[in-house]
Each structure stands twice: as structure tokens, then as C-alpha cells.
Symmetry: C2
Subunit: 213 residues, 2 copies
DNA sequence: ATGTTGCAGCCTACCGAGTAGTATGTTTGG
DNA sequence: CCAAACATACTACTCGGTAGGCTGCAACAT
């Protein structure tokens, strides 16, 4: 009864892999990639390094996996609002709210990806690591592109000021991603309280682009 | 002629200390605190670890010094606009432009402080380190407070929407600090080009707070 | 029902590389 | 010639990665 969980899942081992991934995300969030030892990650789940190396081939692969999951969570969170048939203003507002609530609810993953990854492997990277890096970078770009496109839509419709969408997306993403840096989870925080924070930030970024009247 | 520079300075050794500090900022920017060895920092100035330990007592102290300088540069950059007798809107705009140009011109320091420091020393800190941490945190808070105060001024004067100034300062700072993450220095970039980026970001954060008409 | 066997899923012990900090030697300008 | 300003050599320690061993469940044979 102890070590299964792959009974009904199509992908065996998936649960254990995610347990490890969650532990890694928490550890990387607190101490960063370089300062986190795999011994501490495995401690987090009451296990040893051997367990990690059974599921992941290296520390870098584990790090990339955290990034990948964070990016996929983000894409899943913001895409619905992006695809909603509505004004650019409302779509962007919905994306920003969803994005911020995601940050609050999955802080470890989102804080890790907000820290970036290029920093950690300017050198000493082998072939497969560089491929994974490019892969994760593509996911990040895909998320950014959703924002760029909605900005362009708003400019085209006249809702937003005439800005360079690629450039304007930068402070927008900064405002959103920064939440992962200052937000501190509170034990009994209600969903309504989270929503209020998210709305406030969404209002800010939408207003930053809208025309004055 | 090689190792002086304290001839006219009130503070002896100041030049060499700053050389080391600059090298440390560049190294920390590229690889982060934990992944940067002091051997690499000293390589950066064609020296060895002994030189660093002559001027700084530990790696942590050097890291704190980088943060402190970054905070002081920021304070020096934004305070003039803050104190200008003008509308809250114009003061904030001036602060944001100055802030962004500072980021561009002193990228190593600003990127390091945008990465944060609490992360790196949750444990294993001695007494003096905790004192320095509190000190740097106070500087950070002082910078944030300038933005909070100008937001409050704008709300009071009716220029800005009725926002919670402390909360609204978060995405604002995120939008500004994020520049240190995406900006890549280009060799022949003109001052006018930098200014254009800074104006764009300043427009964004000011519009994020202003009333619609 | 009961032994037997195979292998997934770990754990343990270890190695080698890298690094913060220190102790001591060395140079050079005044 | 002496101290400031380093350089060099060394120690103690951490940590990524690996090799090999252990264990308990499961599936089959009897």
C-alpha cells in the first residue's frame, strides 16, 4: 500500500516523479539552484538521493523539469482568457488575474521560473542540456507571446495606446512576475483575499496600456 | 603607478575596493551568489583571492556590499525627481525614467539586487551577517517608500486612482526591476535609445495609476 | 496455500572536484 | 627597511554523481 499509485494512471511512476518535482521546487525556491543540494531535496520527501537519481538523470534535468512544469502551468492558466471572445482589455485583465492567482497558489514553481535559468548554466553545459534550455526558453516565449498578441489586438482596436507590443510586454510581465518575489503565503488567507490582490495588479497592468479616455 | 589611487580621496583604499566590488557585481550577475567562486571574482581583475580578503572579510560581506551599493545608487537616482516640486504624475514619471536608465547603465549591480538576498542565507548566518541583512533590507525599504509616498501624493491630489499605495507599489517596482532581467546591453546603443526605453516603461507605470480622464 | 524468483524502487558508501577561509610567504613603494 | 598590499599553498568541507547492495511485492510454479 505504500509505494504504488500507478494503478489507474496511464503513466507509471508519475506520482512519485511529481512528489520529487514538488520537493525540488520548494527547495529551489528557498535557496536557489546552486545552493540547493540534492540531499536536501530528498530529505524534503523523507528519502535519499538515490530516489531522485532513479527518476531524474541529473540535478540540471530536475531543474529544467521544474521550469517546464511552471511554464506549462502558466500557459494553462492564461490561455483560456486569451482565447475568450471579448475585448482586448477584458482578455488581458482575465489573463493577469489568472496569472497572479496561479503565482499565489503555486508559489514554488512560479518563483523558481521568475528567477530565471540562463544564469545558472552559461558554461559547462553538454549537448542535451542545451537542447533542454532551448526547449524551456521556447515555452517562456510562448507565454510572453500571448501577452504580446493581446497587446497588439488592443492597439489595433484602439483600446490601448500605440505602443511597441514587444517592449510594452516587458514591464507588464515584470509587474506580474514580481508577485512571486514579494508575496508571502498566509495560512488562512481566503480565496477572496487572493482575488483582491490579483484584481488590483490586473487593474494596474490594464490601465498601463489603455488610452486615457 | 599601479596600486594607488588613494592620493586625493578622503577614504584610502577606496578605489581598489570599488574595483573588487565591480568585479563581484559582474560575476554575481552572471552566475549568482552561490555559483560564483571568489577565485573567479579575483580573476576578473587579474588578481587572486588574497586581494579580496584583504579588503573584505568574507564572501557574504562582499555580497552585501554589492547590494548596499546598488541600493544607494538607486536612492541617488530616484530621489531628485521625488523631491522636485511638481505633480505626483511628473515626479513618478521622472523617478521611473531615472530608475530605468540606472538599471541600463549599472546593470550588474541592479540585476544582483533584483535577484534578492534573503534567499541565500536563510540559515548558517552569524550575528554580523544578520545585522547587515537587516541593514540592506532597510535600504530597500527606503527606496520602496519613495514610490509609496509619491503614489499616496497622487491619490491625495486626485491624479491617481484610489489604490492601496503599498500594494500598488509592488507591480510598479516589478515593472521597473524587471528591466534588469531582460535588458541586454548593446555595444553602440545611443543615449537616446536608452531614453526611449525608459520613457516607454515610465509611461506604462504612470498610466497604470492615473485616472482614466 | 506456499515456496521461489525477478525486478522495480530504492538506500548506502564512496570518490573526486570544487571552494571558503586561513596562514604564511613575497614584493614594492616610501 | 618596513609595512601595505597582495600572492601562494594548504586545509577542511560540501556536494554531484556512481556503483553496488538490499528489500519487498508480484507472478508463477508446485
Amino acid at each position: 500500500m505504500s509505494k504504488l499509485g500507478k494503478i489507474e494512471t496511464g503513466e507509471p511512476l508519475a506520482d512519485r516523479r511529481i512528489d520529487i518535482l514538488d520537493a525540488a521546487a520548494r527547495a529551489f525556491m528557498r535557496q536557489g539552484f546552486a545552493a540547493t543540494s540534492l540531499d536536501r531535496v530528498s530529505d524534503e520527501i523523507g528519502s535519499t538521493k538515490g530516489a531522485i537519481y532513479y527518476y531524474y538523470r541529473s540535478k540540471s534535468e530536475l531543474f529544467f523539469a521544474v521550469h517546464r512544469r511552471g511554464m506549462e502551468l502558466t500557459q494553462a492558466a492564461i490561455r483560456p482568457s486569451f482565447e475568450t471572445p471579448a475585448s482586448a482589455r477584458d482578455r488581458l485583465h482575465g489573463m493577469a488575474v489568472a496569472h497572479t492567482i496561479l503565482v499565489i497558489d503555486h508559489l514554488p514553481y512560479l518563483r523558481v521560473i521568475a528567477q530565471g535559468l540562463e544564469m545558472h548554466l552559461l558554461e559547462r553545459t553538454n549537448e542535451s542540456e542545451r537542447a533542454e534550455l532551448a526547449d524551456v526558453a521556447a515555452l517562456r516565449e510562448a507565454n510572453e507571446n500571448l501577452y504580446i498578441r493581446v497587446i497588439k489586438d488592443g492597439v489595433a482596436s484602439g483600446e490601448f495606446r500605440s505602443v511597441d507590443a514587444k517592449l510594452a510586454a516587458k514591464p507588464l510581465l515584470g509587474a506580474l512576475n514580481w508577485t512571486s518575489r514579494w508575496y508571502q503565503p498566509r495560512p488562512g488567507e481566503t480565496q477572496a483575499a487572493k482575488k483582491r490582490v490579483a484584481e488590483s495588479i490586473a487593474d494596474f497592468v490594464v490601465a498601463g496600456l489603455e488610452k486615457k479616455n
